[in-house]
């Protein structure tokens, strides 16, 4: 008897002898096993096919893809790696990262590798050498491989960004050349008009004086626009060179108000700085709620030197932009008030700056959009007051690059208060 006989449903197993029944069972189990084996082989073949397809896709990628274990050894790399380093797969797999890249590059990579192997996703840029000897800029991303709560290694993705860097360099040079090539003739036009306006080179009649005044104002407006456009481009492209240090917040405000005093005088506006008052009330408000109110808290008003971690030039530019707006839109004889104070403890260690005016205010639907480029409350009115429409966009970029926030509260017809926050210095620098 063969297994084929028992595939034939004419045979009734219950009529067979015990030995025959046992043999039939064994044959059935054998058939079942064979079917399982065939299924597993099919699955394995599928898996091999899929792995091969994945490998083809990963090898076709221009980016360098690899897997690095917790001992900084390559466990997998794609074909792009072989092209980049001029080494076959077998000579990369199992080797330490420090054996493959140069010692200089490894030193730059090390802190990021360690950070990723602690479980963080990391992205950074580094200059690396290819097998051809050419140095290229690369963007590197590490994704930790976490299984059952344990870090087994990381997936690495490296992209050649030398084209992007070259474009940025060309753009920087263009901005630098444009900056010079536009500013120089503007300097000539502006300077000539200024000298004519003195009247010492011959007096003009009233119409001549009016025309001179129009020409001068518009050259100054062009200059402001050029400065703002170049500033904004530099900030948005990430080329703003921030050099933060611990700064006295009140001193920043004083410097900005000093710089704007002449404009305030011309508009008959008073600039006032309200110091942050240390009183029993606001010690309790700003202290950790678990700490008791100090018995020795001063009851008189004193100045508390608040420090911020900031690039002073950029913050003074922010303050002067905000002051310029406040002065321009305030009625004659009114006061623009500035203040610095600690921000709410729940927002972290931040200092809040405010500039309050009693001007015409801002409609509610424009409180967010006024921080965008060329969005003004009333474009024609702002043109008369010499605005470029970029000042607040520049302020927002500067504050955000300092990890701060900027916003405005306003009552239309009554005035506005612009706020921005800056972080306090890291504890080691405070």
């Amino acid at each position: 008897m063969t297994t084929a006989d028992y595939d034939n449903h004419d045979i009734a197993p219950e009529t067979a002898s015990p030995d025959a029944r046992q043999a039939a069972e064994l044959i059935a189990k054998n058939q079942q096993l064979q079917r399982l084996l065939m299924a597993q082989e099919g699955i394995a073949a599928n898996l091999r096919r899929r792995e091969h397809q994945m490998r083809l896709m990963i090898d076709a990628l221009p980016a360098l893809v690899s897997y690095i274990d917790v001992h900084h050894r390559y466990r997998f790399n794609n074909y792009a790696y072989e092209l980049w380093y001029g080494l076959p797969y077998q000579q990369i797999k199992g080797r330490q990262v420090s054996d493959i890249v140069s010692i200089e590059v490894y030193r730059k990579m090390l802190p990021h590798l360690e950070q990723a192997l602690l479980g963080e996703e990391v992205t950074y840029e580094v200059e690396m050498m290819r097998s051809s000897g050419q140095m290229v800029w690369a963007s590197v991303s590490y994704t930790p491989d976490v299984r059952n709560g344990q870090i087994k290694g990381l997936f690495s993705l490296v992209n050649d960004i030398s084209d992007r860097k070259a474009t940025e360099r060309i753009k920087d040079e263009f901005v630098s050349v444009v900056s010079h090539e536009l500013r120089t003739p503007l300097a000539s036009v502006h300077g000539a008009l200024k000298l004519l306006a003195t009247g010492k080179l011959g007096q003009s009649d009233d119409r001549g004086q009016t025309l001179l005044s129009i020409a001068l104002q518009n050259t100054e407006r062009l200059t402001r626009l050029l400065n703002d456009v170049l500033d904004l481009e530099r900030i948005e492209s990430g080329h703003l060179q921030l050099s933060p240090v611990a700064c006295n917040a009140l001193e920043l405000v004083r410097e900005a108000t000093h710089a704007m005093q002449a404009m305030a005088d011309n508009h008959e506006i008073r600039l006032a700085i309200a110091p942050y008052e240390v009183t029993e009330n606001n010690i309790a408000k700003n202290q950790n709620s678990q700490q008791p109110l100090s018995q020795s808290a001063p009851s008189h008003h004193t100045l508390t030197p608040l420090q911020v971690w900031a690039d002073s030039d950029q913050i003074i530019q922010t303050l002067t932009n905000l002051l310029s707006n406040a002065i321009k839109f305030s009625p004659k004889g009114s006061t623009v008030t500035l203040q610095v104070k600690p921000a709410s403890p729940k927002s972290g260690r931040y200092v809040k700056f405010l500039i309050k005016d009693t001007g015409r205010g801002i409609p509610t639907d424009k409180l967010e959009t006024i921080f965008e480029r060329f969005h003004q409350v009333d474009a024609s009115d702002d043109r008369e007051r010499g605005g470029t429409g970029l000042g607040l966009a520049i302020c927002r970029e500067i504050v955000q690059q300092h990890q701060g926030r900027i916003w405005v509260k306003s009552i239309h017809g009554e005035g506005s208060t612009f706020y921005f926050t800056l972080p306090m210095p890291p504890t080691a620098h405070a």
């Binding site: 630098s176 120089t184 300097a187 000539a192 200024k194 050099s243 004083r254």
Partner: protein
């Protein structure tokens, strides 16, 4: 507050100063020269870094107003050459530049400059700005009002 259209002659040291202006742009030379000579000071002109070094040695001006972006020897190279030469190392230099970033200013001061004036500049106050940088007049600062 003095009008912006008037030349603030009263604040200037009355001893006539001699300023060497080094700039390759003829129009800027004309405007800067007019603005400075209107105060009674004298001006020597040079249209390149190389010519400027020669003029500085020959005339020993009281100060040099030096443009940054010039062909051949640029402002930075000219300043380094002036500072390296015993005959000219003590002549104060004030840069004239279209670049207004803090990093640019720091770089120019690191070259030994005593002042940086940005373009476009006001020719009617150019002399008093130079005087201010070099301490040739008393400062007249005003402070914003503060709560008592």
């Amino acid at each position: 507050m003095p009008s912006q259209n008037s030349l603030d002659q009263n604040l200037l040291d009355q001893t006539a100063k001699r300023i060497l202006i080094i700039d390759d742009e003829a129009d800027i030379q004309t405007i800067a020269t007019l603005g400075i000579t209107m105060t009674g000071w004298k001006v020597i002109n040079a249209s390149s870094g190389k010519e400027g070094i020669t003029q500085a040695k020959a005339h020993q001006p009281d100060a040099i107003l030096l443009d940054v972006m010039m062909p051949d020897l640029d402002g930075s190279e000219t300043a380094l050459a002036l500072k390296a030469d015993l005959e000219t190392c003590n002549i104060p230099i004030i840069f004239l530049t279209a670049k207004a970033q803090a990093a640019d200013r720091k770089r120019l001061y690191a070259l030994g400059a005593q002042g940086v004036i940005h373009k476009p500049f006001d020719p009617t106050t150019l002399a008093s700005q130079i005087a201010g940088f070099l301490g040739w007049r008393p400062s007249s600062e005003q402070r914003p009002s503060e709560w008592p």
